[in-house]
C-alpha cells in the first residue's frame, strides 16, 4: 500500500471507501437511504457511517430499533416501494435474526411476482474473526447465502472494490449482500475518485502464477498473496484469484487458472465443511478442467468449531499466512 502512496494515488481506508460510496450514491440518487442500528450519531458499530447523518439528515440515515428482523423487513418493504435502502447489520452474525426477510422475502419476491416487482435492497454485513468478539460475533456465513437463488453475495477484499461493489450493488435491481471484513476496515489502498462500478460476479487474478491456483476471498486474499510472495522465493509460482463474488461465482476465471496450473487450493474463512471450497471444488471436478487436475484439490477453511474467544485459539481456528504457505508448498511440491 505504501507504493500506492508514493505514486501519489489517492489512498483511503476500506471503511472510508464504503462511506464515500454511500455519500456519492445519496448525492446522486434521492431514493438511496441508510438504515441500521446506531448508524446515525454513533456512526455505526464500526464507524462506517460516521457523519453521514450530519450530511444527509435523519430522514435518510435512520437509526432502527434493535430488531434485525424488523429493520430488514422495513428495508425490504421500502425497496418494494421504489427506494434503494442500504441496511447495515452490526455484525453479519445477526443476519440470522433476519433470515425470513432476506431468504424468504427479498430473494424470492421477484420470482413469485412474475418479475413485476424487484427488491433493490443492499445488506452490509461486517464479518469475520480476529477481533476477539467470540463465537456469536465472528462468523463467516457468506456461504449460507450462496445457497439462495435470488441473492447476490459479494466479498470485497480491497478499499477500491469495497466502494465499487457497493455502487454496483445499488445499481443492481435485486438484493445484494456485501460481507465486509472487520479486520479490513482500517486497511488503506488506492480508491479512484467519483463513481465507478466493480463488476458483480467477476473474479480477479491478483497474482499470476504457474504452479498452483489459490482461490481466496476477502481477507484471505491478502494472506494468500503474502504466502505466494514467500513461496516465490523458493521458486514456487502461485496464482492468487480474488473470488470477489460468491454468488454469482466466476467459474470461467477459476477454470482457466486450473487448466493452466493443474493444482487448486481454496482458502476461505467460513467453516471448511459445506463451504465455498466445497462448491468450487465440485465445480472444477464437474468441468472440463478436471482433466487438467494433477493433484487432489485442497480446501483450507475454519476449524469445525465455533470461533474461540481465546486469541491464540481464534488465530489457530482460521487459515493464516503460515498455514496457507505450508499447504501451498506441499501442493506445489507434489506431496499431496
Amino acid at each position: 500500500m505504501n507504493a500506492m502512496t508514493e505514486t501519489g494515488l489517492r489512498v483511503l481506508s476500506y471503511s472510508e471507501a464504503i462511506r464515500e460510496a454511500m455519500a456519492i450514491a445519496m448525492e446522486n440518487d434521492p431514493t438511496v437511504i441508510l438504515m441500521g442500528e446506531d448508524i446515525g450519531v454513533y456512526g455505526g458499530a464500526f464507524q462506517v457511517t460516521l457523519d453521514l447523518v450530519d450530511r444527509f439528515g435523519p430522514d435518510r440515515v435512520m437509526d432502527t430499533p434493535i430488531s434485525e428482523l424488523g429493520g430488514a423487513g422495513v428495508a425490504v418493504g421500502a425497496a418494494l416501494t421504489g427506494l434503494k435502502p442500504i441496511y447495515e447489520f452490526q455484525f453479519s452474525d445477526f443476519a440470522m435474526l433476519a433470515m425470513e426477510q432476506i431468504v424468504n422475502q427479498a430473494a424470492k419476491l421477484r420470482y413469485m411476482l412474475g418479475g413485476e416487482a424487484s427488491v433493490p435492497v443492499v445488506f452490509r454485513l461486517p464479518a469475520g474473526s480476529g477481533t476477539g468478539a467470540a463465537a456469536q460475533h465472528s462468523q463467516s456465513i457468506e456461504a449460507w447465502f450462496g445457497h439462495v437463488p435470488g441473492l447476490k453475495v459479494l466479498q470485497p477484499a480491497t478499499p477500491e472494490d469495497a466502494k465499487g461493489m457497493l455502487l454496483s450493488a445499488l445499481a443492481d435491481p435485486d438484493p445484494v449482500m456485501i460481507f465486509e471484513h472487520k479486520l479490513l476496515y482500517k486497511m488503506k489502498g488506492h480508491v479512484p475518485e467519483g463513481s465507478y462500478l466493480t463488476p458483480i460476479g467477476k473474479a480477479l487474478v491478483r497474482r499470476s502464477g504457474t504452479d498452483l491456483t489459490i482461490v481466496a476471498g476477502s481477507i484471505m486474499v491478502h494472506r494468500a498473496l503474502e504466502a505466494a510472495e514467500r513461496l516465490a522465493a523458493e521458486g514456487i509460482s502461485a496464482e492468487v484469484i480474488d473470488l470477489r463474488s460468491i454468488r454469482p461465482i466466476d467459474a470461467e476465471t477459476i477454470l482457466a487458472s486450473v487448466r493452466k496450473t493443474g493444482r487448486l487450493m481454496v482458502v476461505y474463512e467460513g467453516v471448511k465443511a459445506f463451504g465455498v471450497g466445497a462448491e468450487i471444488s465440485a465445480m472444477v471436478a464437474e468441468s472440463d478442467a478436471f482433466d487438467h487436475l494433477d493433484a487432489p484439490i485442497l480446501r483450507l477453511g475454519a476449524a469445525d468449531a465455533p470461533v474461540p474467544y481465546n486469541p491464540d485459539l481464534e488465530r489457530a481456528a482460521v487459515p493464516q499466512v503460515e498455514t496457507i504457505e505450508a499447504a501451498a508448498r506441499r501442493l506445489a511440491r507434489r506431496e499431496v
Partner: protein
Amino acid sequence: MPVEVILPKVDMDMSHGKLATWHVAEGETVAKGAPLFDIETDKAAMEVESPASGRLLSVTAQPGDMVAVGTVVALIYAEGETVAETPIQTTAAPEPEAPVAKTVEPVPTATAHPAAIPQADPAVAPGLRATPAARAAARASGITLEEVPGTGPRGRIQRDDVAAFLAHRVEAPALASPGAGAWSAQPGPLHVSSRKGTGVPLVLIHGFTADSQSWAPLEKALGADRPLIRIDLPGHGRSPRRRLGSFAELARMVVEALDDVTRGHDKVDLLGHSLGGALALAAADIRARRIRSLALIAPAGLGPEIDAQALTGITRATRAESLAPWLRRLTATPDGISDDYARAAMRLRADPALRAFQAELAEILFPDGVQPFDLRPALSRLEIPTAILWGRSDHILPWRQALSITGDFALHLLADAGHVPQLECPDRVARILVRHLLM
C-alpha cells in the same frame, strides 16, 4: 490404517519390476527397515526394506510376478490393528481378473488408442493411481499408464511422470533388448552398476550434474555385448551425498570405486565425460597399469576456462523453464533439447537437497568459475592409448584447450557437436571409440 507396501521405482527408466523373493512370509511380523522383498528390473536387483513394523498381510504379488511400479503388493498392519475384510481388491485366491498388474508385460509401443475413449479404459489397471491430468496426457499420447512409473504420493502417476516417460522413450527407444544382460548394483560408498558381457569392461564416469543413466544412448550404440561398469559420482544419480573438500578428494573416491570394480578384471577401458573426464584422467594417472585405454569426452582439467554461468544456472534451476536455457547450452544448437526433455531433467533434479549439494559442489570444484585443477601434466605422462573427443561447438569447455597440451593422444574434433556428443551423436562417438581404441 495399514501401511501399503509399494513396488518402488529403483531405476530411472523402470516401469515394471519382477518380484524376486519375499524375505518375510505372509502373516509373519516384520520390523521397519528390515529386508522385505527383492525386486529385479531389466537393469538392477534391489532389496526393498519394510516401510513399517507390523504383520505382513494381503500379499498380492508372488515371486516371479512382473509388477508395475507403484503397485501395492502387500499391507503391513500394526500390532493390534483390525484387519479389513478385503483391504485391496484382490485376495490370495487365484481369481481370473486379479486386478493387480500381475503379468502384464510392458507393451513397448504402438498401442495407440483410438480417438474415442472407451467407457472402461483398458489402459488403466484397477487400483492404479493417476491424476486426471496424467490420464489425459496418457490418452493423448496413446500410452498405457501401467508403463509409467509414478513418483507422486503413494506411487501416484502425475502429469510430469507421463512427460518424463515420453521424453525418455524418445531418447532411448526399446532400451532393453532381449539379449542384453541385466544391470546389477555393487556394494560400496558410490553407486556402481555393471552389466555383464564378453571382453574387457568399459568403465563410464559421467559429468557434473549428470548420472550413469545419461550413458544410455551411447550404451545402445556400443551394442549389448560389451561389459559395462557405470559409476555414479557422489550426490549424483543414486550415489549418496558425501561431503567433499576438493577435486583431489573426489578423485580419490573415484579411484577407490575403480579399485573395487576392477578387482575381478585384469584391465579395463575407461571413459569419462567433462568432470568425469578429468576424474578418468586422474584415475588413469594413478592406476596406469589397470587401464588398457582411455577415452575422454570434452574433459575438464585441461585449462582454467569453463562456462560458470551454465554451472550455476543448472544447479540453481528449480523449474523446467529456467533449466531449459542452460541445458540448451550443452548441445551444439538449442533445438537439441526439447521442452519435454527439460521437464524430465528437472524432475530428476526435483529434490532441493540434491540441488543444494550440487550447487555447493560446483563452488568447491570450480571456485569463482575457474577450473583450479590442472590435469595437463597427467595427460602428458600417459603411455596408454588415449583419445580425446570434443565437440567443435562446445559452449561449456573450449575445445581449443586440447591444442595446447603435450602428450601422445588422438584428438577427434566433432563438427556439429556441443558439450555432450555422446548424447548428440552417440553412434559417431561409439564408432570412434571402437575404431581408435582397443575397445
